[in-house]
Every structure is written in structure tokens, then in C-alpha cells.
């Protein structure tokens, strides 16, 4: 079968998730990767169709539609990212194709597919049966990227004019993240607060803990959205990825969009809910109320440091 992968391109660079998708797609059939823009495609381990259309835009579902007509793929894979989801949902609706979102696994079955999705904030898995052709929006990190890397096969270049698609939304420009006092992605020790911290006043507790550990404070989206911490401190899909030695998660549930940004070597999570998904990525998990435990922990750390 033919499988089409829609490449994730940000600022003209192929993102790692593209290789993850290509790797999985190769298990399913013959792969073509569709790349919008002029990024270097030489490491994509498949054939490529490259369309000179600038930055990926939501209305580029029209490009996918044209390529779909040409290749007649059985499966079309997109990354579950802020760029690709806009395109995927419109493409599926435009062509009346079944679509699975938040996908963590795909297999071919009979004349269709079985997909697994991780939903409800990471608390539920659902297996879905989809008829072919089908659209899959796959979570980052679901498949190894190695299989998708190699040397590119045949590269076909197409222009927007050849595809005959027209504009709908206009790209004005990028707005780079503000440069703050600290870059949490570069810090070794990050104490991160989630909605479970309860109140803005309790952020102080996390700050004190970060201070005794020699780290900095970060947070999950609801904490940032509430204005309790600056935007530059957000961990996750929309924010930064932490890669240091320790990530200490206080009252964070561990939704997919959050854990995408947690690549620290050691994760310690404190959560009142023993079923919190954050425990699945933790080296150490503590079932406790952060407001009760953290003050005692600060004292014990001080004692240990002497």
C-alpha cells in the first residue's frame, strides 16, 4: 500500500517527528513524504514530494488533497502538532476520510487499520477501527525516529501553480519567544508547578524548594495561562522542553501536551491522584498533597545540606 507522510516543518527545518512518522509508515507500506517549503530533505528515508509554498499554512490541506489524488495512499500520517493538526482536520473533512487523533499506534488490519489513541488527559486508551484510506494524527515520541532517517529516495519538486491551489490565510511573520532571565530548557534542576498547587500564593513554596535545590521554577499551561508565572516558564508542546538532571513535578497531571516537553534525566512527581499519568514517566512517584509535603521536604533538604 502507499502511505503519505506530511512533514512537520518549522522555520524551514524538518522536525524530528517527521522521521518518527516515516519510520512507522515504512512498516505499513511504500512511503512518500510531502514537504511544504524549501527545507533540506536529504535525511528523509523515503521518496519526497516537495512543494515550494513557503511556510506551512492551514489552507495547505489543499496541497495534501492534490498529492492524495496523485498517489492514492491508503494512510496519511500527520504529526500531532500545532501546525499539522490544522491541515489534517481540514483535509480529512474535505475528502470525507475517517480520522484518528492523538494516535500512539497504528497497524494494518483486514482492509483497514486499527489505531490506538491516548485521550482524556492521558488517562484512557481507545482502540479504533478505520476504513482505508484513513488519516492519522500521531503523538510526538510514539515511534523511534531512527527508522525514518537515511538517504532520501526520489525527490519530485512541485510549485503551487502546478498544483492549482489558491490562498486563504496569509503568513505575516514569526514572533520569537521573549528572552527571559532564565532559559528553563538549559537548567539542570527544574521545579515545576501544575494546577494542583491550588493558588498563586503557593508558587512561593515551589520557589523556596527550587532555591534549596539550586534550581528554577517552571509550570504547566494552566499556571501560565492564569498569569502566575511568565510564558517563558511553560513546559510542554507550546512551551519549552526541559532536558536537565531533575524535573520535579508538583501537582501536574501529565497530559500528553505537557510530557512532550519533559526530557529531563530524572522525573520525580508528587500528585494526590495515584492514577495521574505523570507517574508513567517518573523515576520516583509520591502520592501526597504538595501543600503538606513540600514544606516538610524543604526542611529535610536543608537538614541534609547541613
Amino acid at each position: 500500500m502507499n502511505v503519505l507522510v506530511f512533514a512537520e516543518v518549522v522555520e524551514n527545518e524538518i522536525q524530528e517527528i517527521t522521521y518518527e512518522l516515516v519510520g512507522k509508515a515504512k512498516q505499513l507500506g511504500d512511503v512518500t513524504t510531502l514537504v511544504v517549503g524549501n527545507a533540506d530533505v536529504s535525511n528523509i528515508n523515503s521518496d519526497v514530494i516537495q512543494v515550494d509554498a513557503g511556510e506551512p499554512l492551514p489552507w495547505h490541506y489543499k496541497i495534501v488533497e492534490k498529492v492524495f489524488e496523485k498517489l492514492k495512499p491508503s494512510a496519511i500520517l500527520f504529526g500531532n502538532t500545532l501546525t499539522s493538526i490544522d491541515i489534517a482536520a481540514q483535509f480529512a473533512a474535505q475528502l470525507d476520510l475517517p480520522m484518528a487523533t492523538m494516535v500512539t499506534d497504528i497497524s494494518a488490519k483486514d482492509d483497514g487499520f486499527v489505531a490506538t489513541s491516548l485521550v482524556y488527559g492521558g488517562k484512557v486508551l481507545v482502540d479504533l477501527a478505520l476504513k482505508s484510506p484513513a488519516v492519522f494524527v500521531v503523538n510526538r515520541g510514539s515511534f523511534p525516529a531512527e527508522e525514518g532517517k537515511g538517504s532520501v529516495g526520489n525527490v519530485e519538486k512541485l510549485s503551487l501553480e502546478e498544483l492549482g491551489v489558491s490562498d486563504g490565510i496569509e503568513f505575516v511573520g514569526y514572533i520569537k519567544p521573549e528572552v527571559e532571565d532564565v532559559d528553563i530548557s538549559k537548567m539542570d534542576i527544574v521545579v515545576s508547578v501544575g494546577r494542583g498547587i491550588g493558588d498563586e500564593a503557593n508558587i512561593e513554596l515551589a520557589e523556596e524548594l527550587a532555591e534549596v535545590l539550586g534550581g528554577v521554577v517552571a509550570g504547566s499551561r494552566p499556571v501560565i495561562d492564569s498569569g502566575w508565572l511568565p510564558k517563558t516558564r511553560q513546559v510542554g508542546r507550546s512551551g519549552k522542553t526541559v532536558t536537565g538532571k531533575l524535573y520535579l513535578a508538583l501537582g501536574i497531571s501529565g497530559a500528553t501536551e505537557h510530557v512532550e516537553g519533559v526530557k529531563a534525566k530524572n522525573v520525580i512527581a508528587i500528585n494526590i491522584d495515584r492514577n495521574a499519568p505523570i507517574f508513567r514517566i517518573s523515576r520516583c512517584g509520591v502520592v501526597a498533597d504538595v501543600l503538606e509535603l513540600v514544606p516538610v521536604l524543604i526542611e529535610k533538604i536543608r537538614e541534609a545540606k547541613g
Binding site: A88, V119, Q234, S238
Partner: protein
């Protein structure tokens, strides 16, 4: 500007949810968080550009009354009209919902329709983009800010990793909001109670078509974490944590 915001309810994950093979049985429903942000951004756009905000609560028969409070909340914050769209049947397929809603929305003349970018139960599509194709309108998701310049929307979209993009979008359009540009307005309980009494909610029935191609095989719990969770009194736990911090050479 005639503005609409879609508001859905989803299982409250703070409460227990029962996972059965054929369905999810929540203990309670709450407003979908991203939709709350969509309503907020709709109200912010009204402040900037004038006009009115209609909030469209999308429910099925089982959840019909669960959206009353979130709708009243929107009213308390400044929404002009509240509509409850009751779907003719429960469905997990966003495309079916989009088709049903498009039929209702197509002749309402909205300049901008806001939806949350995604709901926590969205495993078969996302509403905004699908609604856009059913209505033949432009769509952009990941929206965190909306302004109007010379009659055109100027939208900021998240691209991940802190990066934003700026886009010009002609109206009418559908916008998928991830977060409003300011924190959700706080509504004191007394004001919410008053709104619950005063707010008038119109009801409309939405016929949901049946579209083949995707079925749920089963729902189930993800595997348990491989680690042993620590439990006990704070004193004991704090001591154990200090040991772990030493193990990972943080202390």
C-alpha cells in the same frame, strides 16, 4: 462584528471516571478548558472591535443540563446570547458534529466563530477545522491573540517551543483557540448565581448525520507505571525523597 463561540462539556478529570470497554462513564462534566478560552477570546474581540457574542453550547441529551452553568458563566462575563445546541445523538466523530452544526450556523452571518482548538475526548477529529470545511470558511488553530486591522483579522498562532506566527485572516473565519490572550476572567459565585437565574438559553435541535468509516473497538486503561509509588506521612515521604535526590546526585 458578529461573533460566535462554541462551548462543549467534557468529563471532569478531577473526579473519578469509569472506563468500561464500550464507554467512558464520568462522574461529572465540566466546560472543555480550551472552549472556555475560546469564549474568553470572543469576549476580548468584542471589546476590541464591538459587536456581539453568541455562545453556542454543544451537548447531547445526556449532557444537556451540564452546559447551563458554563453558559451562565459566559453570560456573567458579557456574552449577549446563549444557545444550547442539542445533538440528535451522541457521537465521538467530530466530522458528524461539524456537519450538523454547519447546517445550523450557515445562515447566521457570523463574522468569526471561535472553538477551542481541541477537546480532551477528541480522538476522531477536531471540530474547528472540520467545521470550516463543512462551511467553506478559512480556519486557523493554535490561536492565542486576535486583533482587527482594516477589517481583517490579525491572528497570533502558537507554533510550539515558544514560537508564534502572525497571520492575516479574512472574515468570515473559524478560529481554534488554545489560550485566550489574558487569564480567564474570575466570576464571583454570587454573580454566577445571579446569571444562572437571569440568563435566557435558547434551545435548538441539531440533526447529526451518520458517517461510516471509524468505530471504537474498546476503551481501556493505559498500563500502570512500572515504579512503586511512595505513600505515607509527609515526614517519612520527605526523608525518602531526600534519599532519591541523593541517588540522582542533586544533593
Amino acid at each position: 462584528m458578529k461573533i460566535c463561540a462554541v462551548l462543549r462539556v467534557v468529563p471532569d478529570l478531577v473526579e473519578e471516571i469509569e472506563i468500561e470497554e464500550t464507554e467512558i462513564v464520568p462522574f461529572a462534566y465540566i466546560a472543555n478548558e480550551r472552549d472556555e478560552h475560546a469564549v474568553e477570546e470572543a469576549l476580548i474581540l468584542k471589546e476590541k472591535a464591538g459587536g456581539s457574542v453568541d455562545v453556542l453550547g454543544v451537548v447531547d441529551e445526556d449532557t444537556a443540563s451540564d452546559v447551563d452553568e458554563p453558559l451562565a458563566m459566559a453570560y456573567a462575563k458579557g456574552a449577549d446570547n446563549l444557545i444550547k445546541a442539542i445533538l440528535s445523538r451522541k457521537t465521538f466523530r467530530r466530522y458528524e458534529v461539524a456537519k450538523g452544526l454547519a447546517e445550523f450556523l450557515k445562515d447566521k452571518g457570523y463574522d468569526v466563530i471561535f472553538t477551542g482548538i481541541q477537546a480532551i475526548d477528541a480522538f476522531a477529529g477536531t471540530l474547528g477545522g472540520m467545521l470550516a470545511r463543512c462551511m467553506n470558511l478559512p480556519y486557523i488553530g493554535g490561536v492565542v491573540e486576535v486583533d482587527v486591522q482594516n477589517g481583517t483579522l490579525v491572528v497570533k498562532k502558537e507554533l510550539g517551543g515558544g514560537l508564534l506566527g502572525e497571520y492575516r485572516v479574512s472574515t468570515p473565519a473559524i478560529l481554534g483557540v488554545v489560550s485566550a490572550e489574558r487569564p480567564l476572567k474570575f466570576v464571583p459565585f454570587a454573580k454566577l448565581k445571579k446569571a444562572m437565574k437571569e440568563a435566557n438559553i435558547d434551545e435548538v435541535d441539531i440533526e447529526v448525520p451518520e458517517i461510516e468509516g471509524i468505530d471504537v473497538l474498546r476503551y481501556y486503561e493505559p498500563p500502570k507505571p512500572e515504579i512503586t509509588l511512595l505513600e505515607g506521612d509527609p515526614e517519612e515521604l520527605a526523608e525518602k525523597l531526600v534519599e532519591v535526590l541523593k541517588e540522582v546526585s542533586v544533593l
